[in-house]
């Protein structure tokens, strides 16, 4: 069963150049899907379509059985509670402390819980991503890059979302931290096997490590999809270059 079904998705901003040019992609439920591609191939635009932040020029997106093209803006905002997202730079609210950042979605959507229960969940999520109590009262500006990612991830999983999205989670991190974040993604997914994970990346090594299902975009289209073996066995020139050169841009 698929969590997300994208059918012939096309998007142009200026009426001439298509950023997405007929993408058809199925993202299986309960699996980790990694969407890879060089910069400017439309990965982020695709994910913004899935979140309903951008409306397509044509085509359809079905998320958890709902055609999101049929939702109006307010319905879409409510529908987004199915998603959790770790942004590239974590996007933590900078006047909230670590614990307040994680508490925020819980306070917004779990009105049924007591104050203590909400705090309990926030602490649980923070410990799940390996942030100890000494960091709870720190502001994002007082945290290191890795800690901010952890806090952002704790906030993203605070409501146990059905779909967890990672936007270039390892961009700009050193190899050690990259591995730590990759492990964090795996552990988080293993912790809730019901949830669907989508990782946007241009790190092919991470894609092979994490992805049950990998899709490569190029020129606004899906160039190749499958598992790691599909990529190694592919005779498509661009895929071979990508595999050979790893994350490096041409």
């Amino acid at each position: 069963m698929n969590a997300i079904e994208i059918k012939d998705l096309r998007k142009t901003f200026d009426g001439e150049k298509y950023i997405l040019d007929g993408i058809t992609l199925n993202i299986p439920k309960g699996k980790i899907t990694v969407i890879i591609g060089f910069s400017g191939t439309g990965k982020s635009v695709l994910i913004k379509h899935v979140l309903g932040l951008i409306r397509p020029t044509s085509g359809s997106i079905n998320v958890l059985g709902t055609d999101i093209g049929l939702l109006n803006d307010e319905q879409m905002i409510r529908f987004r509670s199915h998603f959790g997202m770790l942004f590239q730079d974590a996007a933590l609210f900078d006047d909230f402390t670590t614990i307040e950042n994680v508490l925020f979605p819980i306070q917004e959507f779990r009105k049924d819980l007591s104050k203590e229960q909400k705090l309990e969940i926030a602490k649980l999520k923070l410990s799940q991503v390996g942030l100890s109590e000494e960091h709870y009262d720190k502001l994002p500006s007082e945290l290191s890059g890795g800690m901010r990612k952890r806090c952002g991830l704790a906030r993203a999983i605070a409501l146990d979302p059905d779909i967890l999205l990672y936007d270039e989670p390892t961009t700009g991190l050193d190899p050690v931290m990259t591995e730590t974040v990759d492990n964090l993604i795996l552990n988080t997914h293993n912790h809730n096997r019901e949830s669907t994970t989508v990782v946007i990346s241009h790190d092919l090594h991470a894609a092979f490590r994490l992805g049950d299902h990998i899709a490569m975009l190029d020129g606004g289209k899906v160039l190749l999809e499958g598992n790691a073996k599909t990529f190694f066995d592919s005779d498509i020139d661009l895929v071979q270059k990508f595999v050979a050169k790893g994350i490096k841009h041409e």
Binding site: L51, L53, E74, I77, R78, F79, R80, S81, F83, G84, M85, F87, Q88, D89, A91, L92, F93, D94, F104, P105, E108, F109, L165
Partner: protein, 267 residues
Amino acid sequence: MIFVTNFIQQLRTAIEDYMIFLGKFSIFGYESVRLFFKKPYRMDQLVKHLEFVANKSIFIICLTAFFTGMVLSFQIYLGYKTINSENLVGPTVGLGIFRELGPVLTGLIVSARAGGAMAARLGTMRVTEQIDAFAVMGINPKQFLIGPRIIAALIAMPLLNGVFCFVAMLGAYFISVYLLNLDSAVFIDKLKVWLNPQHLNEGLFKAFVFGGLFGTICTYRGYHTKGGAKGVGEATNSGVVNSMVLIIVSDFFLTKMIRLFLVWTGL
């Protein structure tokens, strides 16, 4: 001829762009205010922003108002002295402050202080994807971030205008009575005769409109920031400049509209 045609074309484009901006920012303001009155109500955010816009502006408003009252009285005194009409300093200052200078100066000061901060704050949130984070969480950023700020500006401006007018009249009284040796009783008596609640209402109404203007423009600019730190700087700058220009321009039209309304209603 080509020069004239190009000039007209450029002027037309500029006017069109400005009209598009006005339209977009009106819809943005309307939508944000409408969302504020829908559940979940963001009263905590409103109180937070009211504290920032109103409470934290009081000192600068009082300081500016006191000196405005003093300098205006002094200049008017110098003019009236030549025609032996010094007794009219109080009501002239009063009318000027209550109907024009109070709301306009309050608008300019608060838009520079609080409006600039609003644009910069929202701009930073935009470029660091914090606004997107709200949207992805299923929280309407306009309802959470924009609506309370605009409503806070709408509420705070008439209140601050009241403070400005009161303190400016204190400044006027102080310089007139203690430094220019005008009669205290005459100053107050003339004020009572010349000023009526309608003048105060006019100023409060203008302040309310100016609050809506700068609140909407600055949040609009901040919310639609593009680029990094440079974009935040540009958003802040254009938010404050647009607010100030619109406050001064709209003041003229508001004054004309109020006059027409008063004539029409026979008040």
